[in-house]
Symmetry: C3
Subunit: 205 residues, 3 copies
Amino acid sequence: MTLHIVQIIIEWSAILCCAMAGIFEARERDMDFVGAFVIASACAFGGGTVRDLLLDRHPLFWLQKPEYVIVVFLITFFSMFITLRKSPGLDLLVNAVDALALGFFSFLGTFYALKYGTNLFVAPLIGVVTGVFGGIIRDVFFAEVPRIYRKGGTTLYTVCSFTGCCVYLALRHLEASGTVGFIACTLVTFLFRMAAVRFNWSLRV
Amino acid sequence: MTLHIVQIIIEWSAILCCAMAGIFEARERDMDFVGAFVIASACAFGGGTVRDLLLDRHPLFWLQKPEYVIVVFLITFFSMFITLRKSPGLDLLVNAVDALALGFFSFLGTFYALKYGTNLFVAPLIGVVTGVFGGIIRDVFFAEVPRIYRKGGTTLYTVCSFTGCCVYLALRHLEASGTVGFIACTLVTFLFRMAAVRFNWSLRV
Amino acid sequence: MTLHIVQIIIEWSAILCCAMAGIFEARERDMDFVGAFVIASACAFGGGTVRDLLLDRHPLFWLQKPEYVIVVFLITFFSMFITLRKSPGLDLLVNAVDALALGFFSFLGTFYALKYGTNLFVAPLIGVVTGVFGGIIRDVFFAEVPRIYRKGGTTLYTVCSFTGCCVYLALRHLEASGTVGFIACTLVTFLFRMAAVRFNWSLRV
C-alpha cells in the first residue's frame, strides 16, 4: 500500500520533471503550442512507453491514466504565457529538473523490469532505457544526434542512470525496503549527474 | 456487417492515399525503386503500426492482410514509369490526397482505441498518432525535423486531425451511427486541413 | 534438437557480427565507450527487437538471454584498447562481417515470422526488417538518412536480404531441411551483397 502510493508519487514527479524539461527546450527553439506539447509528451512518456513495449506491459501507463496527458497539456498551455530569459540560473534549474527525472525513471524502469521477471543483468538496462529514451526521442524529433552520445556531449548521463539502477539492485539484494532503494537510486543518480555537469566530467575511453 | 465493409473501404483508402503521398515525396528526391517502396510503406503502414503497438493489437493490421503490402508494392512499381512535373496543380493534388489520408487514419485510430477500451481523453490522441506518425517516420528516414512540427511548417496538421477525432467522439456520444461519425470526422479533418493550406493558417501561440 | 542448436549458433553469429560492425562505426566517429556500446547494441539488438515487437514475440530475445548483452558489453570494452587504421583490407572485413550478419538476421526473421503464423508474402518482409533495422536505428542515432536508402548509397542491401529470404522460402516449399535453407539463405545474401559492393551495383529504376 505505502509502496503503491510512493510509486504514484514517483511517476507523477518523473512525468512533471520531464515535461518541464521538454517545454524549456521547445520554448528555446521558439516552437508553437502544438510543437511544445509534442516535445513535452515525447520527453514525459517516451521512456516509459519504450519500457512498457519492451516488457510487454499493457495497457501502457499513460493509456490507463488520462490525468498524465491532461496535466502535461495544461502545463504546456500555461507555460506559453511565461517569458523565460536565458541565464545560468535557469540552466542550473533545467539540469536539476532533468537529473531528478532521470533518477525517477531509472528507478521505475528497474522496478518494473524486476516485477516482470527480467534477470539481474537486464533490469538495469531497462532502467537506463526508461531514463534516457525520452531525451533520445526528443533529439530524433529535432533531427539531431542524441546529445547524450554526441562527442563532447553529456555521455555520463547514461552512466549516472546505470549507477543509480545498480545501487537500487544492490540495496534490494540486501533486502532494504523499496522506499529506501528508491531514495538511494534517485539520490545517487541526481548527485552523480549534477557533479558531472558541474565539473564537466567525461569518459576517457 | 455494413460497418465492417465501410471499415475495410476506409482502411484501403487511407493506405492508398498515404502510399501515393509517400511515392510523390520519394520521387521528388530522386530515390530509386527500393527507396520509394520503403518510404511509401513507412507512410502507409507507419501510423497504423504505431497505433497497433500502443494498443497491443496483434497481429498487426498489415501482417494479416498481405494484399496491402502487395498493392503498395505494385503502385510503387508502376509509378516508376510515370514522369511527374512539379506544378501548383500537382501540389494541390498531393495535399488533397494527404489530407484525405489524415482524415481516414484519424478516424480509424480513434475507432480502434475506443474498441480496445481506452478512455475518452486518450482515444483522440491515438487517432492523432495514427494520422501523423506515418509522416513523422518518413521525415525521420529523411533525417529532417518532422515537418509538421517545424517552425513555419504545417503545425495545424495535428490540430486538424485532433478536431476530426473530437467531432467523431461528439457524434458517437450523441449516438450517431458509425458511418455518420466516419464521414463527419474525415470531412472536418479534410476541409480544415485544406483551408489551413490554402489560407496559410498557423498557430499564434 | 539439431535445429535448435543451429539456431542458437546463428543468433550468436548474427549478434557478434552486428556488434562488431557497430563498434567499427562508432570508433571511426571517435565515440567513447558508452557511445560505442549503445551503437553496438542498436546494431546487434535493433533488428531483432523490431521483429519481436511486430510479431508480438515476448519476452524479447535479449531479455531472456543476458549473455548476449554481457558479451556485447565485453567486446565493446576490449575493442577500446585496439587501434584501427583505416585501410581497404579493414573496409572489406567490415563489409564481409556486415553481409554475414545481414544473411543471418534475414534467415532468423523469416524463420520466426513463419513460426508465428504470418503468410508467405509478409514473412520475407519481416526477414528484411530484421536484417536492415539495426543499421537504420544506428543511422537515426547518427542523425543521418539511413545509408541503405541514400542516393548513391547501398540500396541493393535490402534487395540482397529479400533475395536470401525468398531462397529460404523456396527451399522450404521444396521441403528442404531447415539447415539447408539456412545455409542457402545466408550464402545467397552474403555473396549477392559482396558482389554488389565489389562491382558497385545499383538499381536503375
